[in-house]
Structures are given as structure tokens and as C-alpha cells.
Symmetry: C2
Subunit: 558 residues, 2 copies
């Protein structure tokens, strides 16, 4: 019998009505706002009523540096959540939402894979509950209000050359990266250079994911810097009176979305900040809500542990007061082989030595994670072609480095395939061994924070930056932004800023090309390398193959 | 006691769960896809299962030419629907959705007013069920695919100066009306002039409102002309392979939305094509579905009867095979006074003679409507300051012109205030008196169709157009588009193309400035005067006052 595809498995899912998933969490019908019969949002009054309840244990799933071979971080997150439920403990999964635009370029990213998926898959890769559309609207309302303010007399004295608030669209549209706007004469305003980013890159997205409630959301939206005057003083979204209307547009989007795994366990899918120029993990409100409703919350962070876990700890956990209890570091034999120098087309051949070489990447992540004070277990996400010798190479390596590696088969077997991992994770999380502390103190200088991440996490010799960049960081410190954490933007494929350097390179510097202040989200972005904030479509976009089947199913999206 | 505001009345509504509204229509829970507890979409399988059922009676609510005094067309549509239910007949209301963007400019348009409203009002003026966001996404996917096609080699030989497919955003953003796109070098494409319209002006919106099902939707999307080659041959959306993916994005948006009136009667709120450059009435699928589920369906068309009713008859009814059974022509004493020459600040003073003069506008609409073969009743939408003598002036005038005028107090009293109108409308609709026929035959030449509307509906001497425009119309006839109806785009404030000429002017010509082919929607747009397809925000946009109250209510939107 042929192996079923992800979408075939997802369509055959025996979904429960979302009402029942909610009821199991104690969410009454009035507090569960349905979107169809398999998606829902959780009402704010219900969330408010959870205050005072104890929190469950928080488990982060992260990974080695990604390669084209695939690691299966989301798959492991889902499989582990199901497995914890299978061993009799109540677990919920928290992941980020998918961006619509990129699905029409390359084949869409599903929510997990094999028998470890979240459903409904089609809707989650399309409009879902409309959160990203709300963010697009709120973001672009502010943009329209800026140009409108200038049009009607510019009382705020905005320097139109220094408007830093771009527009957004949830679409891969390179033609909008750089435009000249307000052409066509007096009625259309003052021509100026402008451009669009993809919606997930919006600071509004980052704010929605970090805000604790609607009041906090509105305050942060007001704090956003949208432009500068000739004298370089900032103009805030609040100065334009946009924060209230933006909050109204985001009211529903702020509520966490509830869906389910293939094994009918609760999954919170909410928010999706760009892992490149933002912190890249699901919303604080979803995570904190899930922690009140489950004994174990399994969540993930974007990219490899150098980027994703570091930001999860230093931005999300720091700001939201979260205390992770255990970390799962996901690796695959195939990805370790690529980190060990194997080419993609040679991955089918067993090569325990390449695996052993690639373990250097795993080992460095392992020691980095331990540096945050959180106990770590390695999950080997099993692929059909993995050899015993290759698996042994990893388990031996991990054991030698003071941790344990567990082989998982959740992709093929669902939660059952990750029960051993679940037992280990539950024990670690309940051991009280976690002594989580972020990497640096709030009080450290901004450049020192960047340098600390470069040295301690990327194992670089140093971070380097022009005087202009250092001056900018000092200026922000003088303006009261020095306490903010930094949000690193660099390639996810390497510890260095060179995406081709796999494994565990040393002897490199981390050059900071540009810094940006996200004053509403509450971090300083340090851009190290080329960061694209508006993707393009490939020569044969997936959209050309996407259509509805006779049965009304979506074809070509997955 | 102070009169309550619309929003206060709407918030105090004793809403039924939408499930119950659906159940009364025979829609089972599986076929009613909820969005929260007070909004839902109706599943396609349920709609498919209605085939073969008899249709209810179709009632169109239209109005005299709009003035700043207000006419209350939607209010009358809702009040009449409730009143028909009150007199023991099953009625449903069908109206168009609200556009989000303009609500942040001027105060938002609610769905009706006073005690004749559709709820939930806040959601209906914000994201509602996401239909407009889906249209924005589908429209902009096609735009991205056009520029992407050119970027990767332009196999279709698109002349980039002749790309007619603009982008859309549901926002009043004048800065985007005219832009130069694809700036910034090789990676961003070939610079060209481009621009944005507001989402409701998208041909995709018109198509969604005219398509009978998803197959028809996809065919029409494929038929859209997006660009021309150097040799002037058209490039279709189908040529880019965009029609399938656009259909996928619109799958849920195609399903009609069900909400309720303040009196808990079913209301279908679906689609919202720009009444200026499209046909301006709610979706065919909502209307035809409602006709299977109710004995009487009360619907409305945009602007005054010269634009709205004409397009309803000649485009929507013609294309969907609908046979309206009665028309309600709404007028207010205040609006008739303005049509009779009274200035807005003098509307408070009774002036039966001004009312009598303004009746010329009413009379012309009355005779126009009779020309379509559908029986008409006039509804006088009562305002507090109306005098007996003024009301008598209207009823006498209407009686002399062979129809009946009914005074309605649904704004103050809900359905109860429109029972007399309901009795009259039900009797007319059931009389079998309707012998509906559109104004012109499909076979008539395109310019003759425009000229016919100008003479017969606008009472102009003629339509006039340059040779260039006539040549374009002939060219489309030669390409097989001659059978299409025409969609007039002109000011809604006058029978002429001069918005200041109220009443019933004569001796004017109708100059056609431009013609556009909407090959997917299936009409030729004749633009007579300035038509703005992307509005701007005012100097003090409503957005500055919009915010969430402590109680979580939206303030400042209404």
C-alpha cells in the first residue's frame, strides 16, 4: 500500500467538533467563538477568568540548523503533544499560523506532517480565522493615515523622506518592494519613495504576538515609530491617533485560535511573526492561555536553536515572564549528514561518519541551550532510510555530551511513536531542574547584547559594526530604549552569517549591517546579512497548479 | 427619554443564536458554518439541495436620487422584511456587505437604522466573515502573477504599458492611486506605472456577486482581461493560470452570510460590488438561496433608481434569470424638499410646495420603473419633523400618477411601523401583475444600449461619445462581447451627469468619457463623469476617534 500524503491523512482525519475540544478544556459554548465547526477563538472574558490558576509546564521544541533535508520541528511538536496525552497527561500544542502569500509560490507548509499534524490543514494554509488579514488592515490603515496627515497640512512636520512605516500585503509580490507613491497630481498627495513588506514582517504582527491583552496591544501600537522629523525626533503611531482604530481592527485577531491534532488533542495556532526580523514564535496570549488549561504545553520557535530558541528565551520568555521547564532539540539523521558535509542527492546512502561529523552542530546547540539553564533532550525524528549505525552515532554523541537522545516515529505512527520522548520530557519538566535565565540582563548596553549573542550563541570572535550603527544604538539608549532585548536577523542555515557554513564553524565575526528599532514590539533588530522582507514568486508559482477538485478539495496547495 | 442611537439600539438587540435563525430556515447545523454565534455561512451542499424548490416573491427596494438629507433605503428594506414577517408571511432580507476602508474616513454606514437594523452591526462594519479580505487576496494574487510572469521572461508577450489589472486594498488610501512599481533594480522587476483601487471596485467583487456557483466563478475569473499585447490582443487571467488559485481563495467567500434583523428575522448579507463602476447589488447566490427559503425576499440596489434599479434589472435580473414581483420606491419628505430646491439647513421648516416640486424626481423614477413592467409602491420613510401637509402633497402626487404611497414608521417602530407597506407589497407581489422585461435586448449594439438608457431612464436627448470610444465598442462587438449589458457609471445625485441638477431635468446629453470591458463579470462599463475608484481620507479621519471602550465596545465607528 502506498504511503499516504500529508493532505490525504489530514482529509481522512476523524475530527471532533471544535466545541468538544473546547469543552474538554472547560471552555463553555458562549466563550468558544466558532469559525466553522473545526476552528474557534477563545473569548477574552474566559481568558480573564483564568487568572490565579496554576500554570502547566512549558516545553520548547527547537532544532539544529535547518537544511534542505528537513528536521520536522513542527511534526515533533505535534507528535510530542499527542504522546504526552497518550501517556495520560493533559498536553496542548502551541504553534504559529501560516502566511498565505508564500503558499502560492512554493508548495505550502502544512502544520506538521505524516500522522503528527494539526487540522484543518487547508484552512490553516489559507485565510484561517482572518488574523493576518486583520493585521494587514491595521498596518495599512496606519500607512494611509500617515500620508493623509501629510496631505492635509503635515501638522506633525513629518519629514517624508524619513517615513519608516511601509505598507504590507500577505502576498509574494516583488513588484511592490520599492515604489514611488502619491503620483498623479495634487489630489493624490506628495510623491515619495515607499514600499511593501509581507504581512508577517509587520511590527503589528510582532506586537500582537507579544501583547498580553488588548490594553497592552493598544499601548504598544501607539509606541510604534512611524517617521522622523527633520530634527530626527520620532513621530509615533499615537501622534496620528491611529492606535485606537488599529486596536479595534485587531480585537478578534488578538483572541487565540483553537484547533486540534489528528489525535483530537487541543492545538493553539496563533500569530506568526517573521522569524527573520522578529522573534518568530506563536503569541504570548495563546501560550499563557494554554498554560492555564493544560498540564504540559509544547511549543516551538522558528528556525534553528541559535535564532529561534535564543529569541524565544531572550524576547518572548523574558517579556512574558515565562519559565520554560524543558527543551527538545530535534535532529534528523539526514540533516546531520548534511551538516557533516553530505550533498543532498547522497542522503540516501548510510554514512555514520558524516553523521558523527554533523553532530558538531547538534552539540553546539546542546551546550548553548544548557546555558539558558533549561534541561534538554534530543529527539531523533526518524526517517525510513536511517540506519542503525547512524542512529547509534547520534545517541552515543549525545550521551557523551551529557544528555539523552530518543528515537521518535511520530511521523509514521502518530503520538504512539513519541511515547518514549514524552516520558523523558515529562520527567525532565517535572524534575524541577530548570533554572531558566536569559542570556543577558536588561541593563547591558545594546551593542554588548548583540556581541554577547554573537560570542556565546554563534561562537563568533565578536560582533562588528560601523561607528554609524554604534552611534545609532547609543542614541536609542539615550532615548530610553537601552533596556530592550535585541532581535537578531541573520541566516538560519549557519551559526555564522554565511549560509553555506554548516556544522560548528569558528573564527568568524558577525557584522551588523543595520539596526532597526521596533519600539512597539519592544526590541532592537540587528540585521546581519541580506534579509528579504517581501519575497517573490518562482518562475512556475504553485498558484498555477492550485485549484478546487470536483469534490471541492483544494488541490496543489500541499 | 433621549432617543437611542443606532449603535445603542443594535447593542441592546435580543439576538437569537444564528443556529436558531438557520434552523427556522431548515438549515441543519452541519450546513450552517458559524462565525461566532451571530454570523454564519450557508454550505454549498445545502444550497445545491435546494434546486427544484419553488421560488418566493422578489421585492426590490429602490429610491429617488440620493441627497444629503437621507432616504433610508436599507432601513426600509429591513423594516419591510420585518413587517412582512409580522403579518404572518415568511420574509428574508438581502443586502450588500459594507466596505471596511471607508468606515475609517467618514462615520461608518450601519446596516439600516433606528429599529430597522441588521445585527451584529460592529462586525458587519469591520471584518465580518472575511469575504472582502478574500477578494483582496485573490485580486492581488493575480496582480503578483502578472508581474512575476513578466519578470521570468514574459512568454505571453504582455505589453507592460497595457497591463489593465491594478491592485486593490480595502482602505481609503489616495497615495496608492498612482504609483511606479518594480523599482530598485534587477531583482524587483521591470519598473512600470501601476496603482490601487479600493477592493469593492475589483472585477473579482462583481464576479463573486454575479456567479451562480464555484464553477461559474472560476470560468468568469479566467475570462477576465488583465493586459494587452503590442498587437492589442487580450491576455486573460486564464492565460496566467491564476483562475484555479483565485477560486480556492474565494471558496468560502462565495457562500452567503446569514445574520438577523433586530426582530430576529433572517438577513442575507453578501457581496458588495461598487455601485459606481459595477452593478451595486448583493450576490446572486444569496438572492437565489433566499428565494428558495422564504416566501418573500426583500432586497435593494445601490444609489437611486436611475442607477441602482436599472442595473439590478438589466444586469443582475437579466443574467441570473430573476423575475422581480414588485418594487418599493423610497422617498423622504426631506429628500423631496431638497429635490424641490430647499437648502439643507432649511429642511426643518415645513414647505409643502417644495415637496410638491421635488415630486418631479419621484414621478420620473415611478414612470421609469413601470417601464420595466414591475408594479411599484412608494414608501414615505417618516422623519419626526414631517408635516401632514407635506405628506399629503406626496400621497396626492403619487395617487395622481397611478400608484400608491404608504407612510412608514419602521425607523421609530420597527416592523410594526411598516405593516401597511407590507400588506400593500404582498398584495402587489401576489397579484401576478409583474411582467418584468429588461430595458433592451442582448442583441442591441453596445452604444445603442448606452443611448437607450440615457434617453429612456435619464431622459436625456442622447448619449454622446468620441469616435475613439465608438470604435472601441465596435471592436468589442467584433470580438464577441456585443451581447453584454452595459453598466453605467455616473453621478448618483442627478438624472444628468451634473451632480447639482436635482429634480427632473431635461435637455441634457450624456457624454461617455471612457468605456471599460469587464469580460469576466460580463458587462461593459460606460463612464460618464468623474469616477473615483480609490477614495481618500478626510482631514480628520473617523479613525482618530475609533477605539475600544472599557467594556470592549467599538466607539466612534458609527
Amino acid at each position: 500500500m502506498a504511503q499516504k500524503t500529508d493532505i490525504e491523512i489530514a482529509r481522512a482525519a476523524d475530527k471532533l467538533p471544535i466545541r468538544e475540544i473546547g469543552a474538554r478544556l472547560g471552555i463553555g459554548e458562549a466563550d468558544l467563538l466558532p469559525y466553522g465547526h473545526d476552528k474557534a477563538k477563545i473569548s477574552q472574558p474566559f481568558i480573564d477568568g483564568l487568572k490565579g490558576r496554576p500554570d502547566g509546564k512549558l516545553i520548547l521544541v527547537t532544532a539544529i540548523n535547518p537544511t534542505p533535508a528537513g528536521e520536522g520541528k513542527t511534526t515533533t511538536t505535534v507528535g510530542l503533544g499527542d504522546a504526552i496525552n497518550r501517556i495520560g497527561r493533559r498536553a496542548a500544542v502551541c504553534i504559529r499560523e501560516a502566511s498565505l502569500g508564500p503558499n502560492f509560490g512554493m508548495k505550502g507548509g502544512a502544520a506538521g506532517g505524516g500522522y503528527a499534524q494539526i487540522v484543518p490543514m487547508e484552512e490553516m494554509n489559507l485565510h484561517f480565522t482572518g488574523d493576518f488579514h486583520a493585521i494587514t488592515s491595521a498596518h495599512n490603515l496606519l500607512a494611509a493615515m500617515i500620508d493623509n496627515h501629510v496631505y492635509w497640512g503635515n501638522d506633525l512636520e513629518i519629514d517624508t523622506r524619513r517615513i519608516v512605516w511601509r505598507r504590507v500585503m500577505d502576498m509574494n509580490d516583488r513588484a511592490l518592494r520599492q515604489i514611488t507613491a502619491s503620483l498623479g497630481g495634487v489630489m493624490n498627495g506628495f510623491p515619495r519613495e515607499a514600499g511593501f513588506d509581507i504581512t508577517v514582517a509587520s511590527e503589528v504582527m510582532a506586537i500582537l504576538c507579544l501583547a498580553t491583552d488588548l490594553n497592552d496591544l493598544q499601548k504598544r501600537l501607539g509606541d510604534m515609530i512611524v517617521a522622523y522629523r527633520r530634527d530626527k525626533t520620532p513621530v509615533f503611531a499615537r501622534d496620528l491617533g491611529a492606535d485606537g482604530a488599529m486596536t479595534v481592527l485587531l480585537r478578534d485577531a488578538m483572541q487565540p485560535n483553537l484547533v486540534q491534532t489528528l489525535e483530537n488533542n487541543p492545538a493553539f495556532v496563533h500569530g506568526g511573526p517573521f522569524a527573520n526580523i522578529a522573534h518568530g514564535c506563536n503569541s504570548v496570549i495563546a501560550t499563557t492561555t494554554a498554560l492555564k488549561l493544560a498540564d504540559f504545553v509544547v511549543t516551538e520557535a522558528g528556525f534553528g536553536a541559535d535564532l529561534g530558541a535564543e529569541k524565544f528565551f531572550d524576547i518572548k520568555c523574558r517579556k512574558a515572564g515565562l519559565h520554560p521547564d524543558a527543551v527538545v532539540l530535534v535532529a534528523t539523521i539526514r540533516a546531520l549528514k548534511m551538516n557533516g558535509g553530505t550533498a543532498k542527492d547522497a542522503l540516501g546512502t548510510p554514512d555514520p561518519e558524516a553523521v558523527a561529523r554533523g553532530c558538531a552542530n547538534l552539540g553546539r546547540h546542546l551546550s548553548n541551550l544548557k546555558g539558558f539553564g533549561v534541561p534538554v533532550v534530543v529527539a531523533i525524528n526518524h526517517f525510513a532510510g536511517d540506519s542503525e549505525a547512524e542512529i547509534a552515532a547520534v545517541t552515543d554523541y549525545v550521551h557523551e555530551h551529557g544528555a539523552e537522545a530518543v528515537l521518535c516515529r511520530h511521523w509514521a505512527e502518530g503520538g504512539k511513536g513519541a511515547e518514549a520522548l514524552a516520558e523523558k520530557v515529562v520527567a525532565l519538566a517535572e524534575s524541577g531542574a530548570s533554572a531558566f535565565a536569559p542570556l543577558y540582563e536588561d541593563e547591558m548596553g545594546l551593542f554588548d547584547k548583540i556581541d554577547t549573542i554573537a560570542r556565546r550563541i554563534y561562537h563568533a570572535d565578536q560582533a562588528i559594526a560601523d561607528a554609524k550603527i554604534r552611534d545609532q544604538l547609543h542614541a536609542w539608549e539615550a532615548q530610553g530604549y537601552g533596556h530592550l532585548p535585541v532581535c537578531m536577523a541573520k541566516t538560519q542555515y549557519s551559526f555564522t552569517t554565511d549560509p553555506t557554513l554548516r556544522g560548528a564553524p569558528t573564527g568568524h565575526d558577525v557584522p551588523v549591517r543595520e539596526v532597526r528599532l521596533s519600539a512597539g514590539a519592544g526590541f532592537v533588530v540587528a540585521i546581519c546579512g541580506e534579509i528579504m522582507t517581501m519575497p517573490g514568486l518562482p518562475s512556475r508559482p504553485a498558484a498555477e497548479k492550485i485549484r478546487l477538485s470536483e469534490a471541492g478539495h483544494v488541490e496543489g496547495l500541499f
